[in-house]
């Protein structure tokens, strides 16, 4: 692959396009917030998250234009559209959390822009992969020991690391670090993985020597996550791992074998953990327990149904009927108030983000950059698919968040970091010294 250094003349239309898209996204977020204020008779002061959003968008656009003039023009507007939509949604569902979510948006944008200040070749990521991964795992173990839950109840007691009133979920950071590690490791061993293969029956598979460390790291992650009963994140990790392994090795057999392994793990989880068994049963047939275990799922489906094609309008539906709608069921709330038009827009926005990410992977100049872009895209895609599929009863419901949209600072920050990395990977101008 070769790079495509673009001249300033070629870059200008893309900048204009990004500005236009951001303006459109801003109009959408502003109109929603105004409609919410009117519909719910809220004070005009409730507009401030949109103002902050506008400041983030303007600052982001101008700084990105300076540091990454030839970046992908769709990524940042799409991320900002979804994050702004999420702000509208949080302001509508849990107004008391709107301030904190706005603060996290500032931090997310800051993290994204901060990443672009670092060397664009990302050697700092690639070279110290073990440091990053071990650091992430250490953080995770630390939360197991001293973590807490901001709600003081619930099974996720150890997932939160309290620093003042801000809580962070280290498993969110671990997602990115794992992709970085895998991209770096696989890129380094790609040549040998593809050449030094062993014959298993009619298939050529990479020798176990290359897979060993990967599988080991992988098992640590999975053990930790199963210990935390966070099956959603475990599934997500495994899917990302399989996709990256396939992309690195080109072996479809690994994909098939890995999928079988995933199903076996799921079956094991079903028998070992009541939580998993319950989730699967509720998914398979929620109707008999609609007033008990399946209450959330059934109510969420009813919310989707009540949205119809055009939705009830922001502030006009009753998504509050679904317990903890703002985190796990943000998608159902969008379905109720923005209708099918809204959900298809969210699906299209996320799908576009993922496809742009895969395009960045295809255009990347280095195996590490290819695998990193692809891994991050798959991470974003699979996470979105898991939660949307869970809400729509295609797969069992898992507790992962809808990227950018769901309430939760850790998730928002992580999503912005992913987009930041993708933006860096998409930069096609000649590196500035």
């Amino acid at each position: 692959m070769r790079t495509f250094p673009l001249s300033a003349d070629e870059v200008a239309p893309a900048q204009r396009r990004e500005r236009l898209l951001l303006a459109l996204a801003g109009a959408f977020v502003l109109i929603n917030q105004v409609a919410l204020i009117l519909a719910r008779s809220r004070p005009a002061l409730d507009l401030w998250p949109v103002l902050v959003w506008g400041a983030c968008a303007a600052a982001g656009h101008s700084i990105l234009s300076r540091r990454l003039p030839a970046r992908d023009p769709l990524l940042f507007p799409l991320a900002m559209l979804l994050a702004g939509w999420g702000l509208n949604l949080i302001a509508r569902l849990v107004p008391s959390f709107a301030d904190r979510q706005t603060l996290w948006l500032v931090m997310g944008t800051g993290a994204l822009l901060g990443l672009t200040a670092l060397p664009r070749d990302l050697r700092w990521l690639r070279r110290y992969r073990y440091t990053w991964l071990i650091g992430g795992l250490a953080l995770l173990f630390l939360t197991i020991l001293i973590g807490q839950n901001p709600a003081d109840t619930g099974p996720r007691l150890w997932l939160w690391l309290g620093v003042g009133r801000i809580y962070y979920q280290p498993s969110e950071l671990l997602k990115i670090l794992l992709v970085v590690f895998l991209a770096s490791y696989l890129a380094e061993h790609q040549r040998y993985m593809r050449q030094d293969t062993v014959r298993v029956g009619p298939w050529q598979v990479p020798s176990l020597a290359f897979l060993g460390p990967v599988l080991l790291m992988w098992s640590i992650c999975v053990v930790v996550l199963i210990w935390q009963r966070d099956l959603g994140t475990a599934t997500l990790f495994f899917a990302v791992f399989l996709a990256m392994l396939y992309l690195a090795s080109g072996q479809g057999l690994l994909l098939a074998g890995g999928s079988l392994l995933m199903i076996a793990a799921a079956a094991l989880g079903y028998h070992l953990f009541d939580v998993v068994a319950l989730r699967v049963k509720v998914w398979w047939n929620p109707w008999p327990t609609a007033d008990a275990q399946a209450y959330q799922v059934v109510q969420s489906l009813i919310a989707v149904a009540s949205g119809g094609i055009l939705g009830q309008g922001i502030g006009q539906g009753q998504p509050g009927i679904i317990p903890v709608v703002h985190s796990d069921f943000a998608f159902a709330a969008i379905a109720e108030e923005w209708g099918l038009v809204g959900t298809l827009s969210v699906i299209a926005a996320l799908a576009t983000l993922v496809i742009r990410g895969m395009r960045i992977a295809a255009l990347a100049s280095h195996p590490f950059r290819t695998l990193l872009a692809a891994g991050l895209s798959v991470l974003l895609g699979v996470q979105s698919l898991l939660i949307m599929g869970g809400v729509l009863k295609i797969v069992p419901l898992t507790g992962v968040t809808l990227p950018f949209v769901s309430y939760g600072g850790s998730s928002l920050l992580t999503s912005f970091v992913i987009v930041g990395l993708l933006l860096i990977l998409s930069e096609r101008s000649a590196p500035t010294p």
Binding site: R191, G313, Q318, I321, I347, I355, P367, L371, G381, G389
Partner: protein, 493 residues
Amino acid sequence: MNETHTAPRDLVRVALALLIAFGVIALASVYWSVIAAPDLLARDDNARNIIAEQRIRRGAILDRTGEVLAFSQETPNGLTARRYPQPVVASAVGYYSLTYGTAGIEAAYDSLLRGDEGRDELDALLDDLLHRAPQGGDVRATLDLRVQGAVAEALTGRAGAAIVLDVPSGAVRALVSQPTFDPNTLDAQWDALVADQGAPLLNRVTAGLYQPGGVFQTVLLGALFATQPDLSDAGAGLLTQPADIFSEPVRVDDLTLDCLRQPITDTPTLADAYAFGCPAPILALAESSLSSEAVRQRMEALGLLDALALTGFPTVTAPATLFPAEVSPTAHRALLAGQGALTITPLHLAQMVAAIAHGGNAVSLHLVDAVRPPESSQWQTPSAPTTRERAMLRADVAAALESALAYAARTSPDTAIAAPPNVPLFGHSALAFAGPQKTPYAWFYGYVRPDDAGEEAIVVVVVVEDERNPAVAARVARAAFTAALQNDEPSAD
């Protein structure tokens, strides 16, 4: 392409797989939002239906003077709560409950009160689109809060029923059933109300099945007047006939029926027997000249065998009695005595008395006389089927019965109690015995004529349960007459 590098083909495959998955999500979105939506939304556990119901600005129910009997109050969260400032009208107005449904006027005019009917199509569509709370229409009842209150007070502590209505309009001025309930606390008390032996949720006026007992004497008299060929002077001749057997007790099954009170006259007539509720003479006359079939035809003509329509009230008024296909001699006797299997509702009796006061013609009973559609200031006549005034009695029979009632009201001290000051009363008292315990019920039914022309009348029917003294029912009736006549004066035009 380098063998050692990620193949673009593989990247495309992964991207394609993700795209297909997003497509599946999109299809599932279409499925739940559009295809499966009707079934899901109709589910009982869809709280949106309840919330939508609670958002409705249900219309008000007013009495004839504009007094508010029921209205919906907005709560701070944009929902509404139904309030009943005058629980005393509960028997007529009924209740509106999310959990337990509707009753009374609330049930009969539900769709108007909710705003489902009487609304402009475009307005309704706009309301729906803009999520404006639907506004319902108002209903004006014929009830008179003062009369209702007076009757309820007179019946305090007693189980029973009373109805006051105007002739010839058929407007119900008071409808009291006791024990009753407070619709404001219905949801909280429902279980207790249902379990209560006194059946507070039963509307005794429209659905209470009572033995007519001595009330049946009026039916028999009407039948005798109609069938006696020698009624030369409007039936009155029959009344002046001396009664040979007078105060003898009458045995019906294991029941001994007697006069309500011994008459103070040496030459008792049939009119005396009727006034004092002596069963023997009328029974003897009826047994000798009326077949069961003739009785059945009389009852049918008087509407006692059909369900009654009361406009403004759900049409659940019970049919009085299923007339037995074959009547044995003992059953025949019990029937004539108003005992045995025979039951009627106070509403049926009120219709019959109204017909007597209305020259033999039925009146159209109604509890509501005007409705006001949402966002309108004009009261309109409700679109109810106007029943033609059916003839229940021949005019001469009605006149003869009126004479008998007038005589009874003058002669019987028990009945005379009901008379309001300075207004002539037409009335009759009776006792009935119900069930194996022979629980006595005291009846009063009759009317006064507020005008001299003899066109209008105020009809009152009272039944008091577990009461052997007919004067108790008459006292309730006097309270009703007095209140109704007082109210008539200022509003007379």
